[in-house]
Structure formats: structure tokens, C-alpha cells
């Protein structure tokens, strides 16, 4: 059996393409509008789908009459999903769907559907745990060590309440699809993070083989964890296309998108944390509760105290609260931003109680983390970029004047090992190179990454590589969840391209009369190692294939990946924030954020930095503006819009400094996903910076003027 080719990444110093900042290949297409998203697809004869949702948070459908809608001219399909007797569990839940020749007719048809409800009692707010009654479910206590004894013996104990509300994903491109069912064949254009896997939902719903469902999505406008399944609207659009024989386009409108297409669970917490005089944490106790909607809010409370998980004495309790609201979905680092916010806030409060610089305190306790050396390095780097020593002051000691400046910090961790991925590389006799895999580019730069890796392997320019993704007829690659994509696709691409190159070497070896393992591909040439003049151009090499092409697969199997070393999991990053707070108005302005982030081997520093910029902006939104607001009286979301569901604009984000932690020791661990780890600590860092600026903790984010002023009032009271 021949030896396996050497798949290892080229050594850090010898890479020609990887590791060099590169513009994303589709940047121009995206910014000029040339890129066609699934929501831009308008096949001939297409119908517009629309959905009717429940206005009640909890109700039983007693009758539903669609006859008037069906009779409306231009309506081609009407489907009821909440038949009489169905119990509706949130306002915004799907009741019926229509498809019509125009969007307007579809909307008119919805208004003709008559639904009678028996309205039932509801609960839509979870912040006050004393009011949730039987809707709260304690998930059991976890105790390690002897927290009570440790609290008694501690030099300082800090107690605090912290809260972070439900957020929604706010994808710029809403959830939905255009879908055409013809006989037993489906052309499916979804907006999805799961190009390969999503076909299964449609195949199952229509009872046809999944291989007959062709998924195509070249570009997508944001998912953040909320776009894996086909969803009810996908299945119903498929069924309406099947019954009408026409393509159906159905994308959620903004209100529906914010109400029913997923959310990030809230977390409210009562925390007690203790330390020795020197800042060593000795004990942690947290009682938390949360909701993600009707399914409750199962927080992974075992993550407390976040990153410092080896604190010896811990008592952790959590209550999951079910409310009548749409269900949670993964949201960029599920659990982590909330647990990070609660932990880092409590630790900053403890540091303030000890009159300690929180940076010093975090450093003091790094042995409680699993990556002490990494964090030590990153905090030093971040402190340098933030000029922490010069700019930090003890809590509240920010001088006279009504604008107070403060600094805060936080840290995060994530897995991010590569998912299962297969890739096919073809070298044609005309020397064109195609790389195919059924992955998706969520906007993070996957397409560019694949091209760069292939270019590196073949010694070709990036422009010589044709990348084909976003189509499930290509080899299987996993859904983009858990920051697993970069690790998965980089590894499968590497292996596939190396395998293809190996085949090309075998052909070239014969004509040069050297062993194949003596060849290398450099600067557009296949040549003999150590004898660069002996060789031929890549073009000439490919011509030797005659009429045949080379097609080789490559696979990343997560089980073998740790041995192979192309990708791995386990990242760390730290964030620091510099804010100014006007204590007359309670308005917080971002001055600067610093993020230092490790993600192993960085294939494209430019798109990696972009990922972190985006994460910092999301952190500003979550810290200062975003929250889903529910009204208990009407059981509905009050702000399912871009007017009062507030997001930062460009003038609100301040300066963002990103430092990718690219070092030999990180690089040697292989590629690690980046999407989630950088989106964790920013919010906590901002909240801590505000506490530092104004001298008092604002317990609940977002840090609105109302909450900041209320906290200031409590300070002076």
C-alpha cells in the first residue's frame, strides 16, 4: 500500500497564499448587487407565498374558514397548519399559508381567512421569577467543594443581580426560500446555513427521495445560527408549489422574522462570589433563570463561572422558564455570551470590592482556566492596544464633569473543531482547476478560503481556482454551526487538492523520469525538488492528461482529525472596551474596543478580522440597544421592527481594534473556527466599562439611559 500523501499545512514561513490578507472573492459582486441571493430568485410563473400567524399568545383554534381566500382571484393555494383544535403557544405561530400571483393578492387572501380562537391564559415575561409560577422548572443543583465554608472564610464576598434579555437574530435577509416542485423533482433556493442537510426536510415532507431535491444557494444574508431547518414555511411553500405546479417564493417579513424565526435565550442571575485579599477567587454561587420561549431556557449552567471553571467551590442552580413566545435557536455561541456577561460582571464587581484592577484579578486567577498561557499573552496584548495601564482608573474615580470614561474587559472560549466535510478537486487537461463541496458561505469568506487553500497546494494564483459551493449536488459538507466550517472545509479541501496533485505528479513523474515524491508544485510549475529547472508548467503538466481529467476526493472526518492535525478545537480570546457615559442623560458612547483572538492557523487574516469586527459590532448592539420587548397584557412582541428593536449604526460603534493572535504555537494547532468565539466577550467588556466609568453596576443590559440613570440614582441614594 503506498504511503498517504503529506497533507500537513506548509510551514508558517513557507506559505505563499495562506496567511496573507486577501479580499473576499465575491466582495465586488456583493457590494454592487450582482450577487443573487435566494430572495432575489424570481423564476418564471412564480407565486408569492404569505403566512397568517396567531395574534394570541395562547389560544385554541376553534374554527378556521379559508373558503373566501380560496375564491379570491389570483390565489392558487391555501393551506391550514393550525386546524380546529390546535393549541397555539405563542403570538406569531403559523396558522395558515397562501400562495398567489402577486404579493398583494396573497396578503389580501390572508385577511379573508376567518379564524376563531378560544383565548387561553398566557405568560410572556420571565424577568420576575416570583411571577412565573409553574412555568419555571428547576434543573437541579450542582455543588463542588464546600462553597458555604469558602464564603465564610473569604476576605471579600460580592453579591449581585445581572440580567440579559432575549435577543433576536435580525438576519438582514429574512428566513425563507423560493422553491419549485415539478413532479418528483424539487429546485430549492433557501437562505440556509445547511446547504447539504436541508434537503432532507423537504424530501421527507414531500415523501420523495432526498436525491431529487436540488438545493442551490450561492449567497446568503445572515444566519447566526438560526437557519438550519427547512422550517414550516419551507415545507408549506413546497407543498403549495406541488399543488399549484408553480414555483413559490416565501420570505418572512420583518415583523414575522423578529417574532418567530428564533431568538437567543435570556439569562437572569443572582450571583455570590468570594475571594482572598490578593484576588484569588475561592467560591462561586449562582442562581439563574432564563427563557428561550415555549421550550423553556435550558442554559448550560455548567459553564459557570465562565472560563474560570476550576474555581474549587461552586454551587450552581438554574431554572428554565417556559413562556408563550417563539422558540430559541442557536445564536452565535449558544450560552456563552450570557454566561460570560454574568461571570465577568460578577468578577468585575468583586475586583471593585477589593479595590483591585480587574485585569490584575483576572490574571491572578488564570490557573482556573484551561488556557492560562494563552490568556496571559492575550491580556497583555489587549492591555497594550488599549493602553490599559494609562487609561484604567479605580471604579467611579473618573474625575469631575458629566462625561465619565471607563474601561472594562472580558474573555471567552469556544471549541470550533471542523465538521465532517468532503471535497472534490478536478484538474482538467486545459489546466483549469475546480474545487467542489456542498458548503455555504455565510458571509464569512468560506469561498475565498477554499480558493486560497487550493491555490496554496497547487502553487497557482487564487484566480486559477474555480470554487463551487452552495449546491447539494457537490460532495457532502456539514452545516455551518458551532464554528465548525473553517476547520472542516479547509481540511477536506487540503486533502482533496493534495490527492489531486499527487495524481498529477504521477503523470509528470513518468515524463520527467523521476519518482513522483520528488516533485513539488511551486509558482505555476511542477518541478523536481532541489532542481527547480527540471520541470514543466502546470499547464504543460495538465496537457499530459490527454482527454482525461483528474478528480480526487478529500475528507475531514472529525474522529481522525485530531491525529491529522489539519484542524482542531479550543480557542481563546479577550475583549476590552473603552466607553464614555454622560451621567446627566445615561447615554453610553463607545470610544474603542480591542479584541485579541486566537483561532489557530489563520487562512485569511483579512476575512478573519472582518469576522471579529462584526462580532464587536454585535456586542455593542447587545450591550447598548437590543432587546425583545414583550407585553404581558396583549402577549405580543412590541418591537418586531427596526425602529424600536434598536441596532447600532456606524456612528455608534466607535473605533474597533482587532488583533488576530497569530503565533507559531497557535498556528501549529491547525485551523479553528472563528464565528462564535469572537462574539462572546464584547458585551461583558462594555458592561464592565460602564460600571468602571460611573462607579456602579448597571445590572441589566442593554444599558439604556433609563437603566443607567436608575443605577446612578441608587448609587447616590
Amino acid at each position: 500500500m503506498p504511503d498517504l500523501p503529506d497533507y500537513h499545512w506548509p510551514p508558517m514561513g513557507k506559505r505563499r497564499v495562506m496567511g496573507k490578507p486577501m479580499n473576499r472573492l465575491d466582495g465586488i459582486a456583493k457590494s454592487t448587487g450582482a450577487a443573487k441571493y435566494s430572495s432575489d430568485r424570481k423564476p418564471e410563473g412564480m407565486l408569492y407565498g404569505a403566512l397568517l400567524t396567531s395574534p394570541h399568545a395562547h389560544a385554541k383554534v376553534t374554527s378556521i374558514d379559508t373558503s373566501a381566500a380560496e375564491k379570491l382571484s389570483g390565489v392558487e393555494a391555501v393551506r391550514v397548519v393550525a386546524k380546529a383544535g390546535t393549541e397555539i403557544q405563542w403570538a406569531g405561530a403559523e396558522v395558515a399559508f397562501v400562495a398567489a400571483r402577486t404579493e398583494e393578492i396573497a396578503e389580501d387572501a390572508l385577511r379573508l381567512i376567518k379564524v376563531d380562537y378560544e383565548v387561553l391564559p398566557h405568560l410572556v415575561n420571565e424577568e420576575d421569577l416570583s411571577k412565573v409560577g409553574s412555568r419555571g422548572r428547576a434543573v437541579g443543583e450542582q455543588v463542588t467543594g464546600d462553597p458555604d465554608k469558602a464564603f465564610k472564610e473569604a476576605d471579600a464576598v460580592s453579591e449581585g443581580h445581572y440580567g440579559i434579555p432575549v435577543l433576536t437574530h435580525c438576519c438582514l435577509e429574512s428566513h425563507g426560500q423560493t422553491i419549485a416542485v415539478k413532479g418528483d423533482h424539487v429546485e430549492y433556493y433557501p437562505s440556509t446555513q445547511n446547504v447539504y442537510g436541508i434537503a432532507t426536510d423537504i424530501g421527507r415532507a414531500l415523501n420523495i427521495p432526498v436525491s431529487n431535491v436540488h438545493v442551490n444557494m450561492d449567497y446568503m444574508g445572515g444566519g447566526f445560527g438560526s437557519k438550519f431547518p427547512a422550517d414550516v414555511w419551507g415545507v408549506e411553500a413546497a407543498k403549495m408549489s406541488q399543488s399549484s405546479g408553480k414555483p413559490v417564493r416565501l420570505f418572512l417579513d420583518r415583523a414575522t422574522e423578529l417574532t418567530m424565526a428564533g431568538n437567543r435565550p435570556s439569562v437572569f442571575a443572582n450571583v455570590k462570589v468570594a475571594a482572598k485579599r490578593d484576588g484569588t477567587i475561592t467560591s462561586w454561587q449562582s442562581q439563574t433563570w432564563s427563557t428561550g420561549g415555549i421550550g423553556g431556557g435550558n442554559l448550560n449552567a455548567g459553564l459557570f463561572p465562565y472560563v474560570f471553571t476550576k474555581v474549587p467551590n461552586r454551587r450552581i442552580n438554574h431554572t428554565s422558564v417556559s413562556i408563550n413566545a417563539g422558540g430559541a435557536r442557536a445564536w452565535r455561541a449558544p450560552n456563552h455570551p450570557q454566561v460570560c456577561f454574568v461571570t465577568c460582571s460578577a468578577l468585575e464587581d468583586l475586583a471593585a470590592k477589593l479595590n483591585m484592577d480587574p485585569l490584575e484579578m483576572f490574571l491572578k486567577n488564570l490557573d482556573y482556566t484551561s488556557r492560562a498561557d494563552l490568556y496571559k499573552f492575550q491580556f497583555a496584548k489587549a492591555a497594550e492596544l488599549m493602553e490599559w495601564k494609562k487609561n484604567w482608573h479605580p471604579r467611579g474615580d473618573s474625575g469631575s464633569g458629566s462625561v465619565k470614561r471607563g474601561l472594562g474587559l472580558a474573555l471567552g472560549t469556544w471549541g470550533g473543531a471542523g465538521h465532517a466535510s468532503t471535497c472534490k478537486t478536478t484538474i482538467h487537461p486545459d489546466a483549469s482547476v475546480e474545487v467542489e463541496l456542498a458548503t455555504q458561505d455565510l458571509g464569512t469568506g468560506s469561498r475565498t478560503m477554499v480558493a486560497m487553500i487550493a491555490a496554496e497546494t497547487f502553487g497557482l494564483p487564487v484566480s486559477a481556482i474555480k470554487v463551487k459551493i452552495g449546491d447539494n449536488s457537490y460532495p457532502n459538507s456539514g452545516g455551518s454551526g458551532g464554528s465548525t466550517t473553517s476547520g472542516g472545509i479547509s481540511s477536506s479541501t487540503r486533502k482533496s487538492t493534495v490527492n489531486a496533485l499527487q495524481k498529477l505528479f504521477e503523470v509528470v513523474a513518468q515524463s520527467l523520469n523521476v519518482p513522483a515524491d520528488q516533485l513539488e508544485a511551486v509558482d505555476g510549475r511542477i518541478r523536481v525538488k532541489g532542481n527547480p529547472d527540471k520541470g514543466m508548467s502546470f499547464q504543460q503538466a495538465a496537457q499530459k492528461l490527454g482527454v482525461n481529467s483528474i478528480s480526487e476526493m478529500g475528507e475531514n472526518n472529525p474522529r481522525n482529525a485530531p491525529k491529522e492535525g489539519l484542524n482542531t478545537g479550543g480557542t481563546g480570546g479577550v475583549q476590552m472596551a473603552d466607553v464614555s457615559v454622560d451621567i446627566d442623560t445615561g447615554i453610553v458612547k463607545m470610544n474603542r474596543m480591542v479584541a485579541v483572538q486566537d483561532c489557530g492557523l489563520v487562512v485569511n487574516p483579512k476575512t478573519a478580522e472582518s469576522q471579529v469586527f462584526g462580532a464587536c459590532i454585535m456586542s455593542v448592539c447587545g450591550a447598548l440597544y437590543e432587546e425583545r420587548i414583550m407585553d404581558q397584557q396583549i402577549g405580543r412582541v412590541l418591537n418586531p421592527d427596526m425602529e424600536f428593536y434598536k441596532l447600532a449604526g456606524i456612528g455608534d460603534v466607535g473605533e474597533i481594534i482587532v488583533h488576530m493572535d497569530i503565533r507559531e504555537e497557535n498556528d501549529s494547532r491547525g485551523v479553528i473556527g472563528l464565528g462564535e468565539p469572537c462574539a462572546i466577550g464584547g458585551l461583558a467588556a462594555i458592561a464592565n466599562a460602564v460600571a468602571n466609568a460611573i462607579g456602579v453596576r448597571v445590572p441589566r443590559v442593554p444599558l439604556t439611559p433609563a437603566r443607567v440613570l436608575a443605577a446612578l440614582e441608587r448609587r447616590t441614594a
Binding site: 442623560t585 445615561g586 397584557q633 412590541l638 424600536f644 434598536k646 447600532a648 456612528g651 433609563a706
Partner: protein, 325 residues
């Protein structure tokens, strides 16, 4: 959106003939930044929509010895770019620039700013101006973080108008024209706090068009607007104040202080004016005026913070006005 007849008249008389005698018959369309969303949400379901952007006489800004006349279809951007507005009515320009979206400033009109409907989230969800459910307002026991702290109900929404407070403080009037004639109404009287669900929040009648705004000459009157907004990006003010000061040396001879986004109408803070009149404009007087401005506030469960923001708006508007030579 409900189907409607669309009319595109080129003269005011044609437009007036197309209006109805009751709300719901015809709506006037200018910039459309609010009208279109009202229609899409079925909050307005007019049988006819009358576009007035093509009517020349409703445009233009004229500066004369009488003051400033601003046509109803003048856009925010046109107003903000007007030299006379800049030099004499900075208060107006500051209010316009508070609409921190170039798209809104390019499309939105000054007439539309006065006639737009409230942003109250209960109103926008279909519960009416008074936000009633089962005979009771949803606001006092609901989420009222953005609602009124003055007026005491039954209407709790806040007037969304950006220009209203400044126009009231400058003693401006609006011209309301119907097929049978025209009337001139002080902007202060144009805004009305509705007492029941069937009344509107302005004096405009269904058969009338707001054709122009007239602002008296502001010679020597210092004026300024200060809005407290959380975001730099487009965001509604949480509180605002417009001030106009007639000065003798450093002494305020007569003042007008009008609050915005804290009541169903632009809210004249007469107590604040009284605290200023006859007194030198200094930190002490300004602090007294700011305190007087909120003396009658009746905050709801979630909007007590707006009392403080109102104080700040008054104080900063006065400081801004006094800084101008």
C-alpha cells in the same frame, strides 16, 4: 395594503376637490415616509390617495420681511440647506439634523412631519390612539418606556414631530386650506391631545391640506433645539426641548420653552419661561428653568427617566441658544 384610487393633481384646487369629508375617504401623500407604512399595516385604509408632491405652489422656502414661509412639501434636506434657516432659525435646522438618516431627510417633508401619526407601539399594533383594550388603556400597566410624562392621559403617546417644538417656540403658524377657504392656525393649537378614540391629534380636518408654515421674523431672537437620542443612527428622541429667547443684553426679556417627545403635543413649559423672563441668562437661571420645566411631570411606571432627560434637554438647549452671539 388595501386597494385605493391614486390621484396625482398638479394644482391645489384639484387636490382639494379630491379630498373627502370624513377620515378614511382620502389620504394625502407627500414624502410617504409614514403614510406608506400606515397603509401597509392597514392602520390607514384610504379609498383614495392624493399625491401633492406635484403641486408647485406647495414647495419652496421664501424669506421676507414678514419672516419665513416654508411650503408643505419642502423636504427636511431643503430646509436644512436653507441659508435663512441657518442664520435665523438654528433651532429648526438642529431639529432637522436630529433626523439622522439622509434617506429620511431627502424624502420626508415639513408638512408630513407635522401630520405624521404617533409611533406609540400600541397604536401601531392597532389599539388606537388611546391604546384601549377592554375599555382600559394598555399604557399605564404596559411597557411605557417611550410614552408621555405630561398630560396625564387619556392619550399617552408622544407627538413624533421633530419640528413641532421649534415651531411652537418660534410662534409659527400653519395654513390649512379646504375647497371652501383657508384658515391660519398657530402651531401650538394645531397639535391637540385627543380625548377620545374618534378624535385626531391635530386640528387638520379630512377635507384640508396643510399648505405652508409661516414663521415670524426671528431678528435677534436666540433659538435652539436639543434632542436627547440614545443612538447616533436614526433614533427617536427620548426627550427634546426648543427654546427661543428675546434678550436685552444678558437679561431674558421674553422666552419660549417647548418640550418635545414627552407629551401628546409639543409641550409649552410656561413655568420654565417664567423662571427665565426678567432674569440674566446664567447657570443658576438655566438650572431653575430646567427644574421648572418638569415641575408638573406625571411619569408612568417605566418612563421616570424622561423627567431627567427633559431637564437636560432644556438646560442644553438654553446653553446652546446662549452660546450664539
Amino acid at each position: 395594503m388595501q386597494p385605493f384610487e391614486y390621484a396625482n393633481p398638479s394644482t391645489l384646487q384639484e387636490a382639494l376637490a379630491l379630498l373627502g369629508s370624513r377620515w378614511g375617504e382620502a389620504d394625502v401623500l407627500a414624502g410617504g415616509t409614514d403614510q406608506i407604512s400606515l397603509m401597509k399595516e392597514f392602520l390607514h385604509t384610504p379609498k383614495r390617495v392624493v399625491n401633492i408632491k406635484g403641486i408647485k405652489e406647495l414647495g419652496g422656502i421664501h424669506h421676507s420681511s414678514q419672516g419665513l414661509r416654508i411650503g408643505a412639501t419642502v423636504t427636511f434636506d431643503e430646509l436644512a440647506s436653507n441659508q435663512a434657516a441657518h442664520s435665523e432659525y438654528p433651532s429648526l435646522v438642529q431639529a432637522v439634523m436630529g433626523i439622522s438618516s439622509p434617506q429620511m431627510r431627502n424624502m420626508g417633508t415639513v408638512g408630513g412631519d407635522l401630520c405624521q401619526r404617533p409611533r406609540c407601539w400600541y397604536f401601531r399594533r392597532g389599539f388606537g390612539l388611546l391604546a384601549m383594550q377592554n375599555g382600559k388603556s394598555l399604557v399605564p400597566s404596559g411597557d411605557n418606556r417611550y410614552h408621555a410624562i405630561f398630560g396625564g392621559g387619556p392619550a399617552y403617546f408622544v407627538s413624533p414631530s421633530s419640528l413641532g417644538p421649534a415651531l411652537v417656540s418660534l410662534g409659527a403658524k400653519v395654513k390649512l386650506v379646504s375647497a371652501s377657504g383657508s384658515r391660519t392656525v398657530a402651531v401650538e393649537k394645531f397639535f391637540v391631545a385627543p380625548q377620545n378614540e374618534s378624535s385626531r391629534e391635530t386640528a387638520l380636518l379630512p377635507n384640508e391640506i396643510l399648505t405652508e408654515i409661516e414663521i415670524p421674523l426671528a431678528r435677534g431672537i436666540k433659538n435652539a433645539t436639543y434632542e436627547v437620542r440614545q443612538k447616533e443612527a436614526l433614533d427617536w428622541p427620548l426627550a427634546a426641548a426648543s427654546v427661543a429667547l428675546s434678550m436685552k443684553g444678558n437679561v431674558v426679556s421674553k422666552s419660549w420653552v417647548v418640550l418635545g417627545h414627552v407629551a401628546p403635543t409639543p409641550w409649552p413649559a410656561t413655568a420654565a419661561s417664567q423662571a427665565l423672563d426678567g432674569n440674566p441668562l446664567n447657570d443658576e437661571t438655566i438650572a431653575k428653568a430646567a427644574e421648572a420645566a418638569v415641575a408638573g411631570a406625571q411619569p408612568l411606571s417605566e418612563n421616570g427617566y424622561k423627567v431627567q432627560l427633559t431637564r437636560v434637554a432644556v438646560k442644553r438647549a438654553l446653553l446652546e441658544a446662549s452660546a450664539k452671539a
